[in-house]
């Protein structure tokens, strides 16, 4: 149920089939949380409605009791009124009967509406909390999940929970009460007939069991086929122009037809199965009723008295009514497991999301920038996405595969005494390290005890070895606790590195105010990462980043980000007008700001394009600006960033092919915009790089800067920079 494959972050509409995907999920699913905890959580949302909720519950129970009771009243009418010929009594009881029915109607309306309202309010709150949570979530959360999955939690899962709180939860209770009361009344009316009626239980159980068992398989199949239909039609729409250009309409249709037919067969299969099962309920009910009447008839006619009770006409007619309605609460109860399972799975996902650690909060006494020049300094910064402080450490670790380094031959070659010797050395090193706070004189101290080559090893390398070999358990037990912990820590660290590791290691760089830095390097070298840690989308693991001498972690994120104008690689735009997008940063829009908007648009050469549009600045952009070109989107994102007058400008050049005309527009705009600003450009194009004051070349293998300087000096180096430029127009053959 949880998608394991990574999906690209793209707009995925939850479709109708997804909405129903949990309905027949089948057996118990693995949950992250204890059921008790989840129930507690759900109930915590109901607490504010305690009073109303209990009131509606009482109403519902009244309704249930009365409706279970009404067949008995009907029996009285027949026995004591009609059969005895008492017109007055008949009228009297009938009036009571209809009054009770009216009471049921009223209580059931009030309670249904009331419960519905409560559950809507509850889900309203949950959705609010979810959204609020998402707003405070660190970006790494979104990196790990597809947007479709998260959306599905906030929409589908909440809807499923709503069904539980609003209807099913209550129905379960009333169904139990209803069945319980009905059985009691059946026994009160006539224990003999009641006993016979109990045959219904195994019969109904069998039916529902049959239904569940087979239906789950069928529904899975139909979901699969509907998925194929959907993807086929999606492709036919998205690729419509190609289909037409090659005149392949017939072929596209026949491929679609195949998927459509498969779905048809699956649907027919389900419906046919249901056609056999559903009318069975009516059959069982009627035959059982006839059986009861027969038994009752025998008893009466034979004048047999079982348990000293005789059967009256009224009792028989009451049985007719009772048996006719009996299956309804049954059907509800039969689905309980499914209902609760899917609701539990849904709440589990919601609760997990809500429990997720949010971004690191701003410091309590945050510093404030007064006048910013825009000096940026990275001092021995290390960062890796897997070490991110915001990730739930434990759950991530569990998924890491056990290490494979400890292969047997290795172990055999390292005798246990050597291991122990290394441990002893390590212990010494750790102790002395904590004493001297530095690792300077340790080697000398350790010498003599061990062979000379081992003494040359640093603490780090010994630790590495111990962490990578598999130590026999009996030896591991002998190791002192502090050393054990250190080894385990190192193991964890190695595992981290094996998964993804550092993106930047000991990265230091100074960018003087008002200058332009260009970052080049192959995919995965950490170019974009530098911009992400500067804007604190991610927090670094060690080192520090300063702007005008102030650590970025000491100011509020809001303050920090207001200094920076970021034009990301894939310029994301919101649904709304171009104006709304350009003025996205502003809460209140004044004429001055509007003026500025036009000024900036003109400055970037965007104004002319906007003027050609039908509604100019009020042109509505569709989802993610899909109705304008990529280049135009990028220019809008550029303008959006420039309007805030950022001291630091970051431009992550898009790799996708923008047409040469727009390319030169962006290029010119950038050359103008960077005056008076500290500018960081992730560059792919020679023309941009050439003008930069400083160029750094990052290496994906070394996780650091390998070359820096200006264009001329780097070319003269005849190194990586030159090679990268050579490859610049060549394709990176496989993206991933």
């Amino acid at each position: 149920m949880n998608k394991t494959e990574e999906e690209p972050k793209e707009i995925i509409k939850p479709n109708a089939s997804a909405r129903r995907r949990f309905m027949f999920e089948g057996d118990k699913s693995k949950l992250e949380h204890q059921r008790k905890e989840l129930w507690k959580w759900i109930i915590s949302y109901l607490k504010p409605f305690r009073g109303k909720f209990s009131l509606y519950m009482v109403f519902l129970l009244i309704g249930t009791i009365i409706s279970a009771l009404s067949p008995i009243i009907a029996a009285r009418i027949i026995d004591k009124g009609i059969i005895t010929g008492d017109t007055y009594f008949t009228l009297f009881l009938s009036t009571i009967y209809i009054s009770l029915i009216l009471l049921i109607a009223i209580t059931s309306y009030i309670s249904q509406f009331g419960m519905g309202k409560i559950s809507q309010k509850v889900t309203y709150e949950i959705r609010n909390n979810l959204f609020f949570k998402l707003q405070n979530m660190s970006l790494s959360y979104f990196d790990q999940r597809s947007s479709g999955d998260i959306i599905s939690i906030a929409t589908n899962d909440v809807t499923i929970l709503n069904q539980l709180v609003g209807g099913q939860f209550v129905q379960i209770i009333t169904s139990f009460v209803s069945i319980f009361l009905t059985i009691i009344f059946m026994f009160i009316l006539n224990p003999f007939l009641a006993l016979i009626s109990m045959v219904i239980f195994p019969l109904f159980f069998t039916i529902t069991h049959l239904f569940r068992k087979v239906a789950i398989g069928f529904f899975k199949e139909s979901r699969k086929t509907i998925g194929k239909v959907t993807s086929s039609i999606q492709e036919n729409i998205a690729g419509a122009k190609v289909v037409k250009a090659y005149g392949q309409e017939e072929r596209a249709s026949s491929e679609f037809d195949e998927a459509n037919k498969a779905n048809y067969y699956a649907m027919v299969k389900i419906r046919k199965y249901m056609a056999t099962i559903f009318p069975l309920i009516s059959l069982i009910t009627t035959v059982l009723t006839a059986g009861i009447l027969l038994a009752g008839g025998f008893v009466t006619l034979g004048n047999v008295s079982i348990f000293g009770i005789t059967v009256s006409v009224g009792v028989l007619s009451a049985y007719i009514t009772i048996l006719g309605q009996f299956f309804r609460p049954f059907m509800t109860l039969m689905q309980i497991q499914q209902i609760i399972e899917s609701a539990m799975a849904a709440s589990d996902r919601i609760y997990t999301l809500l429990e997720e650690k949010a971004e690191i909060p701003d410091p309590i006494s945050a510093k404030v920038f007064d006048k910013v020049d825009g000096n940026v300094e990275f001092s021995s910064v290390s960062f890796g996405y897997v070490f991110d402080n915001n990730i739930k450490g434990d759950s991530k670790l569990k998924t890491i595969k056990p290490m494979t380094t400890g292969n047997d031959s290795m172990v055999r070659r390292i005798p246990s005494e050597t291991i122990l010797r290394m441990v002893k050395l390590l212990e010494r090193m750790i102790r002395s390290k904590s004493r001297f706070k530095q690792s300077g004189g340790i080697e000398a101290e350790g010498r003599g005890m061990i062979s000379s080559d081992m003494s040359k090893m640093s603490l780090q390398s010994i630790l590495r070895i111990l962490a990578t070999i598999s130590i026999p358990p009996e030896i591991f037990e002998q190791i002192p606790k502090n050393v054990k912990d250190t080894i385990n820590e190192e193991k964890t660290l190695i595992q981290h590195e094996q998964v993804a590791g550092f993106v930047l290691r000991n990265f230091s760089l100074k960018i003087a105010a008002g200058t332009t830095l260009a970052i080049v390097g192959e995919t995965g070298a950490g170019k974009t990462t530098i911009t992400k840690i500067l804007t604190r989308f991610y927090d670094i693991n060690s080192g520090k980043i300063q702007i005008d001498g102030v650590d970025v972690r000491e100011v509020t994120k809001k303050d920090l980000r207001s200094l920076i104008g970021l034009v990301p690689q894939d310029a994301f735009l919101f649904t709304g007008t171009i104006r709304e997008n350009l003025l996205y940063a502003f809460d209140k829009i004044t004429p001055e700001i509007e003026e500025k908007m036009i000024r900036v648009s003109k400055f970037l050469g965007l104004h002319n394009f906007i003027e050609t549009l039908h509604k100019k600045y009020n042109t509505k952009l569709k989802e993610n600006g899909s109705n304008i070109s990529i280049g135009q989107r990028q220019l809008i994102a550029f303008a959006r960033a420039l309007i805030t007058d950022p001291k630091i400008l970051i431009l992550d050049e898009a790799t996708s092919s923008v047409d040469p005309y727009t390319e030169s527009l962006i290029q010119d705009a950038l050359n103008k915009a960077r005056k008076g600003r500290t500018t960081i450009i992730i560059a792919h194009r020679l023309s941009t790089i050439k003008n930069a004051d400083l160029i750094i070349v990052l290496s994906a293998d070394m996780k650091r800067i390998i070359e820096q300087g200006d264009h001329e000096s780097l070319l003269a180096l005849n190194g990586k920079y030159k090679r990268l430029l050579e490859m610049q127009h060549r394709e990176i053959e496989i993206d991933n």
């Binding site: 009418i77 309306y109 519905g116 122009k241 006619l301 280049g631 996708s656």
Partner: protein, 588 residues
């Protein structure tokens, strides 16, 4: 056409099953209505005024009939539902098929006008929303109507007085259901709308999380979300308000009916005008009335929900294609490839002309290069040649014949076009290359791939030509996708080859190799190339310069460089830009 007629139209796609279903349902209803009569008789068998043996006889015979009728009801109901399964499933099948056909009929302009996402949701989730009305609407709708009718006849037979009450009960419950459904319609639409907006806000805040954080606009977004969430909450509460009315309504209607049955039936019995059997039968009828009444109410609601979806589906089904074959269109057997564009004007919308009075000629086997800025109409003009769009004025002739006179399919099969946006199918590389030529041999595929300089890359893949390209070609780089679509265009051996800046993402060296390979093919085909590359321009026989939809220059390079100022300018800028690059490359 309204939605109800549309639903019936699709049900009647399988007329035989529909009819059989109706007959079986009718039979099952008859037995369903007969059973309570014998149940009544069973109770009536307790009459103390009769002899025990008479009563015993009556009891046993009635029991036999009840069981028999129950079995027959089951049998025919099942038979009807089995037919119904066919009818409703095939209704959906045909609806989907029609939609897909409607889409494949459409012209390019339709896909420009309609948002892809919207179109997809119309063809998938909207159709799914109609599943219920096609399924439940059919069997339960028919069954409920028949059952109510049967119960009505039952009352008619046993008690005329109560029958009048029954009419009131049925009519009032139907009116109430209708009222509720009508009230719910706008609420339903509002729920859908606000839910859509809600989802969209969430989506944007996930996909655009970086932007929101960058501008610290969390609060702004939260307010936006809150507004939508409130809208959705209010609409949902409204819908609960009216939805909760269904059950109580049915309770009251059935309650009154039962009460009147007790009173009127009871008095009749007391006065000796009615037998006890009948009263029991009537009470059973009353109990049986609840379910079909409830169902009819539900179906009204389901219909109203489906109506919105079906209306949107109809929009797709009923939109007529703009470009069709003429009734006397002629097939193409062989083509020379002489292209003549004569005074052509064109606009995507009637108001705005993108191309104005364009004229030029390219003789068979020659190369035309088109130059111009973004928005000058370069891509538009090439889209007119395979009739992706219809010219507004003027005409385009191929081999001296207006292209409208050819069969559309034949025309397009002779034009190989490589457009800027390269859409690939979720199939293997080989299948993608052979897309336009189903019976292509592997050799042909390899040849095309070699010309597009893609063969080496493909063979370097572990599965070679059988490698599946990810959906929308996600696993290939931009340049590889372009090369793949070049190969796809080449394999059909087109007489006219059109390349729309199709090597923009390919590096210079590869491009050079492709060009070299192509030049052999281009000798036999007429080629139109939109490009920014100097080398391509120099190789062209003719050059067409477009500016804001007009031709501002046409001729050979030598002619133009002398006489055309604009060409000279463009040429020089491009030259500088590209030598910048090449200079550098020479340095290395």
């Amino acid at each position: 056409m309204n939605s109800a007629r549309m639903i019936f139209k699709y049900w009647l796609k399988s007329k035989k099953y529909f009819l059989l279903q109706f007959i079986f349902l009718l039979l099952s209803t008859i037995f369903y209505i007969l059973a309570p009569i014998f149940i009544g008789r069973m109770v009536g068998a307790l009459d103390p005024s009769q002899t025990i043996s008479t009563n015993l006889n009556k009891l046993l015979i009635s029991f036999f009939f009840v069981v028999l009728f129950a079995l027959l009801t089951y049998f025919f109901n099942r038979a009807a539902r089995l037919r119904g399964a066919e009818v409703s499933s095939s209704a959906i099948y045909y609806l989907r098929k029609d939609i897909n056909n409607a889409i494949s009929r459409q012209s390019f302009s339709y896909f420009d006008k309609t948002e892809t996402g919207q179109l997809i949701s119309r063809t998938t989730s909207d159709v799914e929303e109609t599943q219920q009305i096609f399924g439940m609407g059919l069997t339960l709708g028919l069954q409920s109507t028949l059952q109510i009718g049967g119960i009505f006849i039952g009352f008619l037979l046993f008690s005329i007085e109560l029958m009048y009450f029954l009419i009131i009960a049925i009519v009032s419950s139907l009116i109430l259901s209708y009222y509720i459904a009508k009230k719910l319609k706008p609420i339903f639409l509002e729920t859908r709308d606000s839910f859509g907006d809600l989802t969209n806000t969430i989506q944007e805040n996930i996909v655009g999380a970086e932007v929101v954080r960058m501008f610290s606009t969390q609060n702004k977004e939260y307010q936006k979300f809150l507004k939508n969430n409130e809208r959705f909450y209010n609409a949902s509460v409204d819908s609960v308000k009216y939805n909760s009315l269904y059950m109580p309504t049915i309770y009251i209607v059935i309650g009154f009916m039962t009460t009147f049955t007790f009173i009127i039936g009871g008095i009749s019995i007391i006065e000796g005008m009615m037998k006890l059997d009948t009263l029991i039968t009537l009470i059973a009828y009353n109990a049986a009335l609840g379910f079909p009444l409830m169902m009819l109410g539900q179906i009204m609601l389901v219909y109203i929900q489906a109506d919105a979806a079906l209306t949107r589906v109809r929009e797709v089904l009923e939109s007529a294609p703009e470009i069709k074959d003429l009734p006397d269109a002629i097939p193409i057997t062989s083509l020379n490839g002489d292209i003549e564009v004569d005074n052509v004007s064109f606009g995507y919308t009637s108001g705005k002309r993108i191309l104005k009075d364009i004229s030029f000629k390219v003789p068979s086997g020659k190369i035309l290069a088109i130059l111009g800025t973004t928005g000058s109409g370069k891509s538009t003009i090439i889209n007119l040649i395979p009739r992706f769009y219809e010219v507004s004025d003027g005409s385009i002739r191929i081999d001296q014949k207006n292209i409208r006179k050819y069969l559309l399919k034949d025309l397009r099969r002779n034009v190989g076009i490589v457009s800027q946006e390269t859409f690939l199918f979720d199939k293997s590389i080989a299948d993608n290359i052979a897309y336009g030529k189903k019976d292509a041999t592997l050799d042909e595929i390899i040849e095309a791939a070699k010309t597009a300089d893609l063969h080496n890359f493909i063979t370097s893949l572990p599965k070679g030509y059988d490698t599946r390209v990810g959906e929308r070609g996600t696993r290939l780089s931009g340049g590889q996708k372009q090369r793949l679509s070049i190969a796809r265009a080449l394999i059909i051996k087109p007489k006219i080859l059109i390349l729309d800046d199709s090597t923009s993402s390919v590096d210079v060296e590869t491009e050079y190799r492709i060009q070299k390979a192509l030049s052999k093919i281009m000798k036999k085909t007429t080629s139109i190339i939109i490009t920014q590359r100097i080398s391509t321009i120099r190789e062209a026989d003719y050059i067409l310069i477009l500016d804001r939809g007009r031709v501002v220059g046409f001729g050979t390079h030598d002619e133009l460089i002398k006489s055309n100022v604009l060409y000279k300018q463009i040429y020089e800028t491009l030259y500088q830009k590209q030598t910048n690059r090449t200079n550098y490359e020479e340095e290395s």
